[in-house]
């Protein structure tokens, strides 16, 4: 429907006015967006998680949800000046459990498998370059040792490898941001104005 598209287009243009300078139209759109996002999160959190996973099981007489509901309720004590400290307990459970699950997972996925792939892949010229690149980049990050002599030269090489990485990442960042702009302009030109 045209009026729906027009509303969306006007709000899109309101946001683009920031390119000219800060102004009330942009601020209005920004706060509207923030409010909608918060409202959305509230609805999804309650309807997708709390109701089916906590409230409904409790209402049906299941005791399995008692402990998490109690712990979750303790989180709400955060708003009380004197009792806020008790919200540390459920937070501690979240963070501790997350840390415990992460240790073997990260060690395996980010360290051991990556090291293994670096070594096992060094049978080709590219593999040798990768192996050397990983070593010299790690050497760059060892700041407890002075970067002088041979170590210093290796660290400089590590910096060069990182510059290549940052350059490639910059290019992909441009690609990503341009795709977003193209998407929005396509909406304005094709869906709203109908000139495409």
């Amino acid at each position: 429907m045209m009026w729906e598209t027009t509303i969306t287009a006007l709000l899109t243009l309101a946001i683009y006015t920031i390119l000219v300078g800060d102004n009330p139209l942009y601020k209005f759109a920004e706060h509207l967006l923030l409010g909608l996002t918060i409202g959305y999160s509230l609805v999804i959190t309650v309807k997708s998680i709390l109701i089916p996973q906590a409230i409904t099981p409790m209402a049906e007489g299941s005791l399995a949800a008692v402990i998490p509901i109690v712990l979750g309720s303790v989180m709400f004590l955060r708003v009380h000046a004197k009792l806020a400290g008790w919200s540390q307990i459920p937070l501690a459970l979240l963070i501790g459990a997350g840390a415990g699950a992460a240790i073997p997972a990260m060690m395996q996925a980010r360290v051991l498998k990556q090291v293994s792939a670096t070594i096992s892949g060094s049978g080709t010229l590219d593999g040798v370059i990768i192996l050397l690149g990983v070593i010299v980049t790690i050497m760059y990050f060892v700041f407890t040792r002075p970067h002088s002599g041979g170590w210093g030269k290796a660290a400089v090489a590590g910096r060069y490898f990182m510059m290549i990485f940052f350059g490639a990442t910059f290019a992909y960042t441009v690609m990503s941001r341009m795709a977003l702009l193209i998407g929005r302009l396509e909406f304005l030109l094709a869906d709203w104005l109908g000139v495409m």
Binding site: P68, L94, A97, G100, R110, I138, I164
Partner: protein, 209 residues
């Protein structure tokens, strides 16, 4: 400050952390059942934490309405939007055809995408004003960036077939090597931090005490 409560928090973090690590390696029926229970508790606790966060933002804007006359109108807009979305979602459902999904698809998602599309303009401006080859490092960065920038889009293939293959090589060899080193370093660092949390040394979740 409550020493008993603080010790209970540290004990909880340690116990949960040790259990989750040991559970990765050791399997027993009671451990598997406790593991599944903890995983489901985490969702509910996290959901409650999200609601606490939402409450804090609402409270902040209510305060602004009372104390900051210049900004109160924008805070009113925000709170009205929160209320409208909440009413739409709780009364009208979240399925296809609902007003909740309509507002999301026609207002929220497009505006969100538009805000991020602004970055295209800023990255263009930053590239012109900031990207100067003043040293070997910056020259390498700019050179690699330009090759990948043009090599990764169809026009690069038209200019010369060597450009896409060079861009590929840059991404899959030297850039990969650097990122891999960073990954390994970050992985080791995060494992160390996780161990510190479990050992009770890292206590930022307790407000830094």
């Amino acid at each position: 400050m409550n020493p008993l409560r603080d010790r209970l928090a540290i004990f909880t973090a340690t116990a949960a952390g040790v259990f989750m690590t040991v559970q990765y390696f050791v399997s027993a029926p009671w451990m598997d059942a406790t593991y599944r229970a903890i995983l489901s508790w985490m969702q509910i606790i996290f959901a409650c934490a999200l609601i606490v966060g939402i409450g804090a933002v609402i409270k902040n804007h209510l305060t602004k309405i009372q104390r900051k006359p210049n900004e109160r109108y924008y805070s009113v807009v925000l709170l009205v939007a929160v209320a409208a979305m909440a009413i739409a979602g709780f009364t009208g459902g979240i399925d296809q055809g609902s007003s909740f999904l309509w507002v999301f698809n026609h207002l929220q998602a497009p505006m969100q995408a538009t805000v991020f599309s602004l970055l295209a303009f800023y990255v263009t401006s930053a590239a012109f004003r900031g990207f100067r080859a003043r040293s070997i490092e910056s020259a390498i960065l700019i050179g690699a960036g330009l090759i990948v920038l043009i090599g990764r889009v169809p026009i690069g293939e038209l200019l010369t077939p060597h450009l896409p293959s060079t861009a590929d090589w840059i991404v899959n060899v030297p850039a990969l090597a650097a990122k891999r080193a960073i990954l390994i370093g970050i992985g080791l660092g995060m494992v160390a931090t996780a161990l510190k949390v479990i050992a009770g040394v890292e206590r930022t979740y307790m407000g830094g005490r």
